[in-house]
Symmetry: C2
Subunit: 215 residues, 2 copies
DNA sequence: ATCTTCTTGTGCTACCTTTCACAAGCGAGA
DNA sequence: TCTCGCTTGTGAAAGGTAGCACAAGAAGAT
């Protein structure tokens, strides 16, 4: 499996998995690529091609066994284990994430939170006590944290990320509006609200301009 | 300008703009495609290609006039006006967004918030009072809201989005972990935390597996 | 006026992703 | 056992996106 799988494929796999979990809960036994495609906003061919990178999981003429495929996808995505996560920066976004119940349910345990604000340190939020940044390295090692969520103000984001990486973080989920510079072996995903909002503005403005032209 | 511009290009334009605003604040007058590329995590050729879709804004041998290009990008992205935004669902994420100062600073005014929870209705959060969903249509029209941010629980997301669209929303920013089905003229962007986290798990797991192979 | 240095704008190419289309395969029913 | 209906898995085509490489042009030095 030396094949390079693209980010967009991985995102779709996540969507398929999410759908399969629902179907499984509903005790449905089989699902076709077409059904999976419709509920995840893609095409049947795309579903089959995505899955084919990892093996043949379906039965011709029948479809895919829901529960089987679910397990396969969980294995592919590395979700057969639980992942320990730390939140860096306990502002609005950080504390919202701490209380986000969906994480636990989906295999992610937020086991640490850090902030530079003295007044926040020591407080407990959703069962996690906020620590000083000075304790970061030790805590990452002790609690075997592999994913850091950056939710600091933008000025502090790069430093926080560097520190998390030095402490052993293998992946970073970045909520700060900045492109982090990190070693290539660290996986990074951006969650940039204003970027997406601005993208929406472009589309709306463009649609408006196009409508005027055809008037 | 009938050209179809891809989402990835628009996202990069947003990044360029962000960088230009910083440079402008620092009173820097010109910037090269290379500098812009380095600070936004892309290549110089890509920067020039992106901009060339909309015109020639640079001077050969010199670079781009920072302030000029900033204005051009603001026009292209439709950011010369302010945008009125509503938040649907005032749970953890919703209320975090309501207090997010970056919005105002970037041209977005959150002018309404809705929730179905009676205990939340009437409360004031970051200067916005939480309304019942029954008031949604009227408020969207009165306050000329064009963007709806969906921050409801996943079960309520599709209905909330439908309602926003019927009330006149032209764009949806969706934080719920579900692929919304909406008419094609409505612009949608997804902000799906667990999707991105699972993507990171894939990358980490894969890197681990690759390392084992070469051992 | 000419040369040098620098950086843009862009045609061309290479790569990557998605879609198409169909043979292969499976199960049910006659 | 044979046929029919259905759905997968996949090679090939189409469609897009990103990178290369260089001519065109601008400013300053000689």
């Amino acid at each position: 499996m030396a094949r390079k799988i693209s980010d967009s494929t991985v995102r779709r796999l996540s969507r398929y998995l999410r759908r399969l979990r629902t179907l499984d809960r509903q005790e449905l036994k089989v699902v076709s690529s077409r059904e999976l495609a419709e509920s995840t906003g893609t095409t049947a061919a795309q579903v089959r091609k995505d899955l084919s990178h990892f093996g043949s999981f379906g039965k011709r003429g029948q479809g895919y066994a829901v529960s089987d495929l679910r397990v396969h996808l969980e294995e592919i995505l590395g979700l057969t284990r639980r992942w320990r996560v730390a939140v860096l920066g306990v502002g609005k976004i950080g504390s919202a994430l701490l209380g986000y119940g969906f994480f636990t349910q989906r295999g992610f345990d937020v086991v640490a939170a850090f902030d530079s604000d003295r007044s926040k340190i020591g407080r407990e939020l959703a069962g996690v006590s906020v620590q000083a940044l000075s304790e970061l390295e030790q805590t990452f090692v002790d609690r075997e944290i592999s994913i850091a969520i950056i939710a600091t103000p933008v000025e502090a984001a790069q430093k926080a990320a560097n520190r998390a990486v030095r402490a052993g973080a293998q992946a970073i989920l970045n909520f700060a509006p900045i492109k982090l510079r990190l070693p290539p072996e660290v996986a990074v995903r951006e969650m940039d609200v204003t970027l997406e909002l601005e993208g929406l503005c472009y589309l709306v403005t463009e649609a408006g301009a196009a409508a005027e032209e055809t008037e």
